[in-house]
Structures are given as C-alpha cells and as structure tokens.
Amino acid sequence: MPTLVYVEDHEGEPVNGSLGVLSKAAKLGDDVAAVLCGSGVEGLGEQVGKYGAARVLVADDPALEAPLPQPRVDVLAKLVESEGFDTVLFGASVLTADVAAGLAARLDAGLNWDLIDLEEQDGKLVGKRPALQDSVLLDVGWKSEPRLALIRSGTFEPVESGGAAEVTKVPVEVEDWSKQAVMLERAHEESEGPSIEDAEVIVAGGRGLGKPENFSLVEGLAKALGGAVAATRAVVDAGWYPYASQVGQTGKTVAPKLYIACGISGAIQHKVGMQGSGTIVAINKDPNAPIFEYSDLGVVGDVHEIVPKLTELVKAKRGG
C-alpha cells in the first residue's frame, strides 16, 4: 500500500493536522511518503521525516508560494502517476479540501471526506465517517485506486517515530490554467486578546444574539466565569466579532472544560471546532437547533434573558 500523505505548511512550519495523518499512515503501513508543496519548504523535509515517513518528497517552486489548490493538484497528479501511490491522504483544511477534490477529478479517483478513523479490514482500507449529524457512523471505502481521503481536522495526534526520512526534490510543472487564480493578499493572524485555545471556560456567541452590541452579554458571562469569548463564523464574517475568536471548521479548534453556547444553532462547521469540549451547555430559543443534539445541557429559552441572570448568579456565587 504505497501511501502518500500531503503535508500542509503555514508560516514555515508543517501543520499539526497533516503530521497527525502522517503518523497514522505510518501505523497502517511501512511504505509511506510525505509530500511538501510550497516555496522555500525544502528545509522542512527533515522535520517532516520524523513523523513516520520513509521518504519526504519536496515540490519547491515559486509557483507554489501562495496556498492555492490548483498548482498543487498538478504536482500531486504527476507524482501519483509516476510513483504509483495507491492511497493519498490529507488532513482536512480549506486548502486541502480543494486540492483533494481537484485531484480526485483529475485522476478519476474516489474521495472520502470527513473521516475520523482509518483501518484495515480483511486487507481492504476502510474509513469511518460520521453522518446525519453524527447519528450514524458509516464504513466507507473505495472501488478503485488511487484512494483519496480527507481526515477530519484534529483526529490524529502527531507522533514522532524516531526515524529519519530520505528527502528528495520532485519536479514542478504547473498548467497555465492553474495559475489563473492569484493571491493578492495573504491572511495574517490577528493575535490580540486572550487566546481561546488555552481557555478552560469558553462562552460563545452566535447569530441568535441578534446584534453585535449583544456580545456584551457573552463577555459579561465569560468575565464572571473567568473564561474567554468565542464566536461563530456567521458573526465573524458579519463583522460582529474579530476572527481570532472564531471557533469552527475555518476557525480554531477548542476543547475547554466548559463551553457555553449562546444563540448558536450549531451547524456542523461550528461543531467540528468545539465537540472536544468537556461539558457543553447550549442556550437557544429554537428547540430544533442542531446544537441540542450534542449538548450536555440544552436550555430552550431566550439568551437575552437567561445570560444576564446567569451572569449575576455566577458573580454572587463566586464572590461569596
């Protein structure tokens, strides 16, 4: 099972999600190669090699400078064909989702997404995918090779194997049409305010707060509990709250001891960013909100009434 694991990099470091997938692939088989695609990434090869890859292939070219999918599809398609990989794995991200699907179309290959595990069953590779709001767990597979898979972010922890990999540069040829999308401005992380990733208590707000000013309710409760404030993508994109506080698929993944969701309906994109929380309390006026399906305590009611009252009660209790 010659397997290729795509290793994404950001600001000069391989991302943990990719390294976790690489570690998992190394557990499933010996013939595992990692591929890095970027500009000035050759130096990362040795570091990536510590996570179980026998070989690290490096596509280093200015055409791969911006984190855009299509030039990467060109590189991977040639690699898979020339090296005969039968499995290609990706840690899911905004970038890799588009790379994987483009590659699937190019190679006429099957792609399974949102996998939370991979295992061998009677010699065949089987992926585990939660579906229907996680009410079922599907065993999914492939009818042909190469087999492509996107692994849900944060599923596997990177594990150093103690080994060293052979690092090889590979040729980069990019199609003209793959160069048409261009990056005008790169995202840079906003790093102000307390980090939600290290907080033990998080109070999060969503569209159900009604208007940006009502975030003060969430802030009040977070302060009373000694916690941090988080927000959903909807309110971040609407400009109600800064991006640094965003939890979810394109935001941060958090796992506090206590997560209180205020006015959050709980779409899957939000869920993937906070489902590892110890205890989840949700307050929402819609009894059918998906968030209630994965809350430990679901409260059907008006956040505007409940949150201020709860803040006062918490203050009284903690103060007394």
Partner: protein, 253 residues
C-alpha cells in the same frame, strides 16, 4: 443547487442500499440559497445578467428548483435520470461539468456544503474538469474588469484572491442574507423555463454515472461512539438557576 431532506423530516440511511432515504419531504439545500442570492445580486448590479439554477436530482426535486425560480432565477436546468442514483463526488462532478459546459456561463457559484452528505468539495472537482480557476470559502465576492475578487476565509484569517472569468466560486453562508420569494415570484415561477436534461443529453453513458461511475462506496452503517447523557430544559423563568445548579453539580464553578 441540491435538494436535501427537509430539516424537520426524519433522516435515515436505507439499510439495504446504505444510501440516504430521499423519500421524505425535500427542501432546497440552505447553503445553496446563499449562492443563488449572490448570483441574483450580481445580476441586479450588472443589469443584463441571466441567472440559471442548475440541479441534479430525482424528479421530485423539481419542486425545489421551482423555489429557486420563485426567488428570482431566470431559468432552471434539472438533470434528472434514474441512472444518476448513487452517484458519488466523482460521478456527480462529471455530470455537473457537462451540464455547465452546455450553458457556458461567466461565473459558476456553489454553496459551501450539502446539508445531507456534509460534502464540501464538489466545486473543486467540477472546476478541475472544466479547467477553470476555483476559489472557495468566499466571504465576499466582487466582479470588475472581467475578474472575480474574493475574500476567502481560511484557518488563518482572510485571503484576497482574484481570478479571471469564467471561474468557479464557492460562497460561505455568511456572504449574504438570502431573500424569500414574493407572492408575485411564486406565481411567476410557473411561467419560467425549466428544462429537464438526461445523462444522454449530456453525452454521458450509463457507465459514467450512478454507482458504476462512482469510485467510493459505503460498506456499512453503524452506531456512532456514545456520548454521555444529555439533559434538556425549557425556560420557565428559572433557567439561569438551573444552569448554575448544573454547573455546581459538575464542579465547573
């Protein structure tokens, strides 16, 4: 656009085929209504734009497509064929690419996700087949000088990406607030052109679509890992007290 089981309908996987049971009432995939809204806004700005709603799905999905017309699409194309049942990403992208080629549009918009399969990658496969640039996770979209300029939200913040038209853009559900159909729109929808297209019309053989044209399969449907017991309360004026009690009981305060 896609028809998915209505949010209020009970959802289940067929125990024989391991496919989603689509016999329940359907609705337009909510994420796709944001793509439609963005198309309508662009059409209104440009003045002479035509908005075509394209859907692949069973015959009954025509109702959902009519909703797109009621909201404001000028025309609808429905790819419906028994042979399409069981199509995965690779087969679906093949069909949609062919259907889009026939229309030769300046801009191809997708919603960010299918609410039933949680699939969030289709656009990139379609774009690769069409050899067109693709930009996903669009939080804003502007068209000028024959180019699309997109603010893409990633794990690290916002990128700004530009691509010449025609191109494929997948919009997030935060890009706009979709409008509702007016009574006039609902009445007018019946008069708008709604084409039905088969795989043969698209030049595709039965082996290229459906299960035979697919490269993935579902082996089994199982139980998810269990989650601890969950409690539910309705607020009768004492919810704040109940939450505090709960937190105290769990030693979280």
């Amino acid at each position: 656009m896609k028809e998915v089981p209505d949010a209020s309908a009970p959802k289940r996987m067929d125990p024989q085929t391991f496919r989603l049971d689509r016999s329940v009432p359907g609705a337009l995939n909510d994420f796709d209504t944001h793509a439609l809204e963005e198309a309508l806004r662009i059409g209104e700005q440009e003045g002479d734009g035509e908005v075509v709603a394209l859907l692949m799905g069973p015959p009954k999905a025509a109702d959902s497509l009519r909703k797109a017309l009621a909201v404001g699409a000028d025309r609808a194309v429905h790819v419906a064929d028994d042979a399409l049942v069981g199509s995965d990403l690779i087969a679906t992208s093949r069909v949609l690419a062919k259907a889009i080629e026939r229309e030769n549009p300046d801009l191809i918009l997708f919603g960010q996700q299918a609410a039933d399969s949680d699939g969030a990658v289709l656009w990139a496969a379609v774009a690769d087949r069409l050899r067109l640039p693709v930009i996903s996770q669009a939080a804003s979209l502007e068209l000028a000088d024959g180019k699309a300029k997109v603010k893409r939200q990633t794990e690290y913040g916002y990128d700004v990406i530009e691509a010449p038209l025609p191109c494929v853009v997948a919009v997030s559900d935060a890009i706009n607030e979709p409008r509702y159909p007016s009574l006039k729109g609902i009445m007018g929808a019946k008069k708008k052109p709604q084409d039905s297209v088969t795989t043969a019309d698209l030049g595709l053989g039965p082996e290229e679509v459906g299960e035979t044209g697919s490269r993935t399969k579902v082996y089994a449907v199982g139980e998810p890992p269990p989650r601890g017991e969950s409690r539910r309360i309705e607020d009768n004026g004492d919810a704040a007290e109940a939450i505090l009690e709960y937190l105290a009981e769990k030693k979280l305060i």
